[in-house]
Subunit: 164 residues, 2 copies
């Protein structure tokens, strides 16, 4: 298995948020119920998304999460990267603090690290396919946005972007 269930859950969570209006927060419990996922575990998953700046949150009653950007502007490589850590095809691909990915193998006896060539290509293939998929595509594929509720007056009042 290439990706862990954190990625699966996290992507589903993002899709769920993308289907909702960003105006009012969606609680984790609602998502957990809708997707049949354990709430306590989802908390850990969403924490990664929040730290990556992909979702924002409001605490307290009627709190919840929402996308920090429109789904059209969220590429899935950001999402998966936030959930899985670095996308490394092999042990020797380690992130240093910058963006660079490097191979820790010694260039043994003058020859290059041949497997690195292969894994680099694989990594490129993965990242490309993730970069060219937006969250909006997945939202659309899963049935699109949830229709805005008619009782707009009430809900819009609840909008409650914390008026600090």
């Amino acid at each position: 298995m290439i990706f862990s269930s954190k990625a699966e859950y996290g992507v589903r969570l993002m899709i769920e948020l993308g289907r909702q209006s960003p105006e009012h927060p969606t609680s984790l419990k609602a998502i957990a119920d809708a997707e049949g996922l354990p709430l306590a575990y989802l908390e850990q998953v969403v924490a990664r998304l929040r730290k990556a700046g992909l979702v924002m949150s409001a605490r307290g009653a009627h709190g919840g999460y929402w996308l920090s950007r429109p789904a059209e502007e969220i590429a899935m490589d950001e999402v998966v990267q936030a959930l899985e850590g670095s996308i490394a095809p092999m042990e020797c691909f380690v992130h240093d603090h910058t963006e660079r990915v490097l191979c820790s193998h010694q260039p043994d006896a003058g020859r290059g690290c041949a497997t690195k060539l292969l894994w680099t290509r694989v990594q490129g293939g993965i990242i490309r396919s993730l970069q060219t998929t937006t969250l909006a595509e997945l939202v659309d594929f899963s049935g699109g946005r949830v229709p805005e509720p008619e009782s707009a007056a009430a809900t819009l009042d609840v909008v409650s972007v914390p008026a600090a």
Copy 2:
């Protein structure tokens, strides 16, 4: 980590075999010494390659392994597939006995399995990048074929490194 060390070791093993003449078998011990890998573990790795028909073997003294086809005709997706089993980005991608890969998720409540769209693309990206890389490329990258020995001396125990 996307691929296990079986893939790393197995690819290195294949490259080593690709650097050798297919005329005489190369022992696992020679490869283990050259690459610094545990012999007993390599046995398990090479067994997968043999069962996949990628290498052939001869038992007994002076036995060993060789590529069953020229390196130019071996695409790396075959190799990685043999080593790792199926290349599935996510739990729900399971192989049945055919080539088809399917998602076990129910199409819940009429909506399609949206994550499947994403993982399918990722899988495609991986497989494409593996398919378009041949073993010969990696052999070449790692310094190319070992020069054919003229004498009948036991050359194979010492994998001669081209002296820079």
